[in-house]
């Protein structure tokens, strides 16, 4: 039996270095995953010492490199679901911002902790999905010797392909947090949930 809850360490392995199957420059999802992760990793590798002593600067770097790749507002709306109805756009963005800050910080921590990881493998794209929705499948070596399968769901927006979900061993970040956060927002209101997210009381993953 596989420990399904290995999911919770996914952010630590969000990406490290990248083993390139097909080195194509482009704005398709596979190229985006490859270029973004290898770019971040190269920068971390170059200035590891300074980032180690100043994790906040790494968080800024990750934020700058990663955010353009993500459709944070869309993820937030998916997670809020019904509970997001009637909530003004600004509030949804505030909620999305609170979630993404947590994610970025976790990711930055992971980069420092698992620096000497073996390369991330990007599996060849399958012709399964459509022109609006696709999935990039990757494999990350774990320190224990096993592999964590991490997939990214992308959809096409007016600004090109954007990732909106991370799926680890079949466990979707959006689906799982939706079922936790939606009822909490319905019960306690979005303001309280945002407050709990920003204060660190409500965390996303370990």
């Amino acid at each position: 039996m596989n420990p399904p809850l290995r999911f919770f360490i996914f952010l630590l392995f969000f990406a490290s270095s990248i083993n390139v199957y097909a080195q194509t420059e482009g704005d398709d999802p596979v190229s985006l995953v490859i270029s973004t992760t290898s770019q971040i990793f190269a920068e971390v590798d170059e200035n590891f010492k300074s980032y180690e002593s100043d994790p906040a600067s790494l968080q800024t770097l990750v934020r700058t490199d990663l955010i353009p790749l993500l459709d944070v507002h869309y993820s937030a709306r998916l997670i809020l679901g019904r509970a997001g109805r009637g909530i003004e756009k600004e509030k949804v963005d505030e909620f999305a911002e609170a979630m993404i800050s947590l994610l970025v910080n976790r990711y930055a921590d992971g980069l420092l902790q698992f620096r000497s990881q073996e390369p991330v493998m990007v599996l060849p794209q399958r012709g399964d999905l459509n022109e609006k929705l696709t999935r990039v499948r990757t494999r990350v070596k774990l320190p224990s010797g096993g592999e964590a399968p991490i997939d990214y769901a992308f959809h096409k927006t007016s600004e090109g392909w954007k990732a909106f979900d991370v799926i680890v061993e079949g466990i979707s970040y959006v689906t799982t947090y939706r079922n936790q956060i939606m009822p909490e927002v319905q019960e306690k209101g979005i303001d309280l949930v945002i407050k709990r997210l920003t204060s660190g009381e409500l965390t996303l993953a370990d």
């Binding site: 039996m1 596989n2 420990p3 399904p4 809850l5 999911f7 919770f8 360490i9 709306r77 998916l78 679901g81 019904r82 109805r85 399958r126 399964d128 999905l129 929705l133 999935r135 499948r137 224990s144 010797g145 399968p149 769901a153 959809h155 909106f164 979900d165 061993e169 079949g170 466990i171 979707s172 959006v174 689906t175 799982t176 939706r178 079922n179 936790q180 956060i181 009822p183 909490e184 409500l202 965390t203 993953a205 370990d206």
Partner: protein, 252 residues
């Protein structure tokens, strides 16, 4: 003595089940989990047992056992599952893959010293995980009700049944069937539990731990069933006002 133990454990079970009869039973997922009220009671029972007994033992085990030894124990248990995987691969028509499982079992049981060392993986033999629950899915029993089993944890009607049947194929399961030999299951359970210790805090902090465990388990199970390549979630549904109602009685 053994029968006494059984009687005591059944009495304990019914006591705990009735004790937590007051727990919430909302319908959070009528489609997959129509028995949520019952399942929550079993969950509460498992959780109580975990906090009182299983977790402390697992923490001790994790503390005492050096990591390489713990890995070896995990490999040993995993190797014993190979005959079950092999048979189910045949039942699913995955003949080439079943040859890998057969070879893996031979290599690890011999050179790997009864499975403690996973030599086959280092030799590049792929690992597969199949069981009767997955086979039944392949045969058309696709949707099954979520069922929280006492002691064993999350399952479905299909997978719980499959599990029971698989134990007649399992080398250790076969040997101890019909006898009250719980040692194997206890050690295996402790070993398994020790692997999840790092996730306890997350579960503890969740808004609804029962739902979190169910979601994680069902999604991962689907992932196993589709051999790591399940269809993507229908995200569009998430934005719709109301999720489509399905007749809960359509599930078995």
């Amino acid at each position: 003595m053994r029968y006494k133990l059984q009687v005591i454990s059944i009495a304990l079970l019914s006591l705990l089940l009735s004790a937590c009869a007051g727990t919430q039973s909302r319908d959070t997922d009528p489609e997959n989990d129509p028995w949520e009220g019952f399942n929550r009671k079993v969950y509460a029972f498992n959780d109580g047992l975990d906090k009182a007994l299983v977790r402390p033992v697992a923490v001790g085990y994790d503390f005492i056992m050096p990591d390489p030894f713990q890995r070896g124990v995990g490999n040993f248990f995993r190797n014993l599952d190979a005959p079950v995987t092999f048979l189910n691969q045949i039942l699913q028509g995955k003949v080439t893959q079943s040859a890998d499982t057969f070879g893996r079992f031979l290599i690890n049981s011999t050179i790997g010293l009864l499975g403690f060392f996973d030599v086959a993986t280092r030799m590049g033999v792929p690992f597969y995980n199949e069981d009767l629950g997955q086979t039944l899915h392949k045969w058309g029993y696709e949707d099954s009700r979520y069922l929280m089993l006492p002691f064993f944890g999350p399952s479905t009607v299909r997978d719980g049944t499959g599990r029971l049947a698989d134990s007649y194929v399992h080398p250790v399961g076969r040997a101890i069937h019909g006898r009250n030999e719980w040692g194997y299951y206890i050690v295996r359970g402790i070993d398994l539990r020790a692997r999840f210790l790092s996730q306890d805090a997350e579960l503890e902090r969740a808004y609804d731990p029962y739902v979190l465990m169910r979601d994680v388990w069902l999604q991962n199970r689907r992932y196993q069933i589709y051999d790591g390549d399940p269809p993507l979630e229908d995200y569009d549904l998430y934005l719709e006002e109301d999720l489509p109602e399905q007749d809960p009685d359509s599930r078995q």
